[in-house]
């Protein structure tokens, strides 16, 4: 009797493990997925790769590539993530899977700041009839692409078209109105040296700029009045023009820095406090 039980035991072990290779793959998938859910992304990638290696029928091709992409994305390895999301798209069995893969590629492009690529992909999806009903989602992610690109006005415009993104539209609007106009800062410095610095709140720098320009402007004009023509040209070229063009570049730079500070503050809020969908 014991012998029979022993043989039955052996048979079960052998049959259980060899006759049902798909069960092995399923278990492997569950194991890998569990690691992914636990946030052990490096190990999860190893196990998904193992699944792919032994999955001869490629049953898990889409989901394993998709989740490997997600793991890489969590580890901020965005180029690797894009590679695996693209592989997932190749193995996709439905339009939904194609859409999901492409959205992840778009989100990864947004995060790695290859915005033009993200926007191009969004436009391609918008033009694809299969995804006609997904327009809101696409507009939403184009809004995020503009946010990361620092184009808050365009982001607000996109979010205002989507009913579930009103709070983001308001936020982008407020950031846009808070931002300094780089062109204005530059142009007023053309007219009055130092004015752009005053506009961006850098008063000392504005005063210095004005002072230098007055000094070298006066010296230049005075040299011409006294008919010391070479002196006039030399001072104008080597000193006045340098300070004048420096003042314009300086004003532009200050406006850009101020805008960056405002953008960073908003991005900080979006990263840590905003609870909606993020790339």
């Amino acid at each position: 009797m014991m012998k029979k039980i022993f043989f039955a035991f052996l048979l079960i072990i052998v049959f259980n493990k060899t006759l049902f290779p798909q069960d092995e793959l399923k278990e492997q998938f569950q194991f890998a997925n569990k690691l992914y859910e636990q946030g052990k992304y490096f190990d999860a990638i190893t196990e998904f790769k193992r699944l792919q290696f032994f999955d001869e029928k490629r049953e898990y091709e889409f989901i394993s590539n998709f989740l490997i992409g997600k793991c890489y994305k969590e580890g901020a390895k965005l180029s690797d993530a894009i590679f695996y999301f693209s592989k997932a798209e190749i193995g996709a069995a439905s339009s939904q899977q194609i859409f999901d893969s492409r959205i992840e590629v778009i989100k990864s492009n947004i995060l790695r700041k290859t915005i033009s690529r993200a926007l191009k992909m969004i436009d391609e999806l918008k033009a694809d009839e299969r995804f006609f009903r997904k327009k809101d989602t696409l507009i939403y992610w184009s809004g995020w692409a503009y946010i990361i690109n620092g184009e808050w006005d365009k982001a607000a415009e996109q979010f205002s078209q989507v009913s579930f993104a009103n709070s983001l539209a308001d936020l982008c609007d407020s950031i846009d109105s808070e931002s300094y106009s780089v062109l204005f800062a530059k142009y007023i410095s053309y007219i009055i040296p130092g004015a752009g610095q005053f506009y961006t709140g850098n008063f000392l720098s504005g005063l210095l700029s004005l002072g230098w320009n007055v000094l070298w402007g006066y010296t230049t004009v005075n040299a011409f009045i006294e008919e010391r023509i070479f002196d006039g040209f030399a001072v104008a070229n080597f000193l006045w023009l340098r300070f004048y063009s420096g003042n314009i570049q300086n004003a532009e730079q200050f406006a850009l820095i101020k805008n960056l500070e405002i953008s960073n503050k908003a991005l900080d809020y979006l990263q840590y406090q905003f609870s909606g969908l993020k790339p």
Partner: protein, 284 residues
């Protein structure tokens, strides 16, 4: 033979919950297949971990060698060196020792690297010793040791000799610029020090700016604008002094660039040659 259904169920349950280590996909044979795939796919860190698993199961040194090699290729040099130093299989030892000293060379742990000369395990195999001597030759080039060109060149293969000769050529005649000469030239004629250090545009600008400010100073004094005369004289003086200082700095930068270029060329050569590691024929 009749077995009660409950016994069957218990057995099935037992085999299913027996933990993931018992998956067929995690059997030693499958781990080896998967590790080889990862290694040839250049996913070296994962390959290293898989070979390490095999070593912990079987205690076979070839797996430890492969694991260390994969660690080395993924630039985890400490794990790699630790693995190579533990290999005791005599057939693997010379290669393992060479790889160990190669890592010490890469890590710039030259004290340990140089101790390879006395290592009898590595000397036991001619090829490993030859590879080590090539690295030693490169070390001598890098550290300006007394160079016996002929002896060093003899250790290299024909296709490598030309490049090594170029490195020797640089060491013999590096073409460095004298900082003192650059400073003196600029003190005599502003800008010439920079031209001497092959910084032509800067040299010309230094000459022009010093000349123009000196002229402006002279012209303003002549017109009775003493304040402006002194102001331009000050600016001219600043440019003159700055140009001397800049010429000395330019010579230093020129020399540093020569050395950096030399070190980069050496590094590129070593990377191309994989620090003289053999292919081991793992991925065909």
């Amino acid at each position: 033979m009749r077995i009660k259904p409950t016994v069957l169920l218990i057995l099935i349950f037992f085999t299913r919950i027996s933990g993931q280590e018992n998956f067929l996909l995690h059997s030693p044979q499958k781990i080896k297949q998967f590790a080889d795939f990862l290694f040839c796919d250049k996913d070296y860190l994962r390959a290293a971990e898989e070979y390490e698993k095999l070593f912990s199961i079987s205690k076979v040194d070839s797996f430890l060698f492969l694991s260390s090699l994969a660690y080395s290729l993924s630039r985890n040099y400490n794990s790699a060196a630790s693995g190579f130093s533990r290999i005791s299989d005599l057939s693997l030892k010379p290669d393992a020792k060479f790889e160990f000293y190669k890592i010490k060379f890469i890590q710039e742990d030259f004290e340990n690297f140089l101790s390879g000369e006395k290592d009898s395990d590595m000397k036991a195999e001619e090829q490993s010793l030859k590879r080590y001597l090539k690295l030693k030759g490169i070390f001598s080039l890098m550290h300006n040791e007394t160079l016996n060109e002929e002896v060093i060149l003899n250790t290299f293969q024909t296709d490598e000799v030309e490049t090594i000769q170029k490195f020797f050529g640089f060491k013999k005649n590096p073409g460095i610029k004298s900082e003192v000469a650059a400073g003196l030239l600029s003190a005599l004629i502003p800008g010439t020090g920079k031209i001497y250090t092959e910084n032509f545009a800067d040299g010309l600008m230094a000459f022009l700016s010093t000349g123009i400010f000196s002229y402006l100073s002279y012209s303003n004094f002549k017109a009775g604008h003493n304040f402006r005369g002194w102001l331009f004289a000050g600016l001219g003086g600043l440019f003159y002094a700055g140009n001397i200082y800049g010429s000395i700095a330019s010579a230093q930068i020129f020399n540093a660039k020569l050395n950096i270029d030399f070190e980069n060329s050496l590094k590129i050569f070593l990377e191309e040659k994989k620090y003289f590691s053999p292919d081991y024929g793992l991925c065909k």
